[in-house]
Symmetry: C2
Subunit: 308 residues, 2 copies
Amino acid sequence: MSLLVVGTVAFDAIETPFGKTDKIIGGAATYISLAASYFTRKKINLVSVVGGDFPESAIKMLKDHRVNVDGLQILKDKKTFFWSGKYHNDMNTRDTLATELNVLGEFDPIVPASYQDCEFLMLGNLMPAVQLKVIAQLKNRPKLIVLDTMNFWMDIALAELKETLALVDVLTINDSEARQLSGEYSLVKAAAKILKMGPKYLIIKKGEHGALLFHKDQVFFAPALPLEDVFDPTGAGDSFAGGFIGFLAETKDISFDNMKRAIIFGSAMASFCVEKFGVEKLIGLTQKDVDERVQEFVDLVQFDIALV
Amino acid sequence: MSLLVVGTVAFDAIETPFGKTDKIIGGAATYISLAASYFTRKKINLVSVVGGDFPESAIKMLKDHRVNVDGLQILKDKKTFFWSGKYHNDMNTRDTLATELNVLGEFDPIVPASYQDCEFLMLGNLMPAVQLKVIAQLKNRPKLIVLDTMNFWMDIALAELKETLALVDVLTINDSEARQLSGEYSLVKAAAKILKMGPKYLIIKKGEHGALLFHKDQVFFAPALPLEDVFDPTGAGDSFAGGFIGFLAETKDISFDNMKRAIIFGSAMASFCVEKFGVEKLIGLTQKDVDERVQEFVDLVQFDIALV
């Protein structure tokens, strides 16, 4: 066993200029796991929590994508975490309409013994204390720990977040979060500061403007695919993280060159994600779909300059 | 003779969070010509106008970069075009503090007979009627006409702009201008509409987020180099255009693959431009400086994915 994914499994209700959903399946760990499933043939070991209202069909859907749900706690008498949001016309900003923590309010993550040999750990966005608890339960340090977080935790749990950051290898945040965490407007300066907080690699996600990977004095840029329509941005960052960690877990190669590839695969999954509401587009993609999408990224940025 | 550059030669006074200048040398044609000079060994034939207050030393500086000033009208009794602006803290937006048209108010461009054999024409941002007058004076249509314009002309001279667009091969505008011109928010949809207005190629400049090249159903993305500080964005778009047209004029290859290279060279010149006030950084670069900068772009985006 190789990949451990920790994060929310949730209900979302989403409104965008293109339409509106009732409660649909969401959550960071859901997007991460589905996206990762296209790159690794191994089981994706999930640690999360849902309530008794979470449908069997959704758990079956996860299993169909090789997700191991031994670490998914089901609290029969409680309700699943629920988030509702409305995107503005530019799709880059959104208002949160409702957040019902439910089972997440007292989430005590338990890593099953059968997950102990995981080499790749993806900590989806969650309160830093919960992320720390997961790391603390692992007897052997994974080969690579990737952490996602958000501005909310910088606002209310900065000390715990910094404690967690000191323990991870890769941090993924967006551009405004990088600015908030570092106090620097320039992303180059922000990256230099954040890389002193613990992570050896920093991925700054810029949404429709792509993503930057920083490591020591190296930097790599992956574009986002220009799309006719961005239908629903929910889960794009998590799909990115899933493609990224899934590919690394499968190849077990954490060189900078392989991380570049992983970021392209992550970007490809994010580009699928936003084309439909929720996880709809991430279910049942074929290898051909994925290959063709990755080829679009190759065509988008590759050029041939031979310097003399 | 091969390259003809038409545009403003001006005085600018610029204020950014990093400092403030007195009147310094600026103007679209100045940036375009200087940037182009690093890619073509041929003369850069300038058509523009200045007043008697324009310093001999600045004309010498242009000549030192192989700019042919036979087409630079000097109106002794008048003053040079002057623009003054102040950038906001994010460097992406600015306020115009002063615009004194001076010689530009009655600019009647005259293409000298010795320029008639130009194969590459770069029309820098100017009122569309002036751009049209230049095209009308050429006995043979150039191999490639590139046009830059701005939102101001879309506001007050849209009919003339559209008439001009119908005659050019490549249009360069920024993302908000592409949205204004097309009425589409999605840049992919905007590009499809604009490519029906005349240009066969559309370059959408996104500032710190790079640039997109659209042609038929092909799209290429070039990143901007992540910089520690953007010192002064003035002229970045013109420097981009100069590197782009300079490389094409030298290689005489207007295939899509060569345009990709040209866009990378243009992006490299834009990245130099913003590192100092005005044209300061574009003066006296070495071939080694340019090669090293282009290599940074290669390192920034190149990855190796072999799809099976």
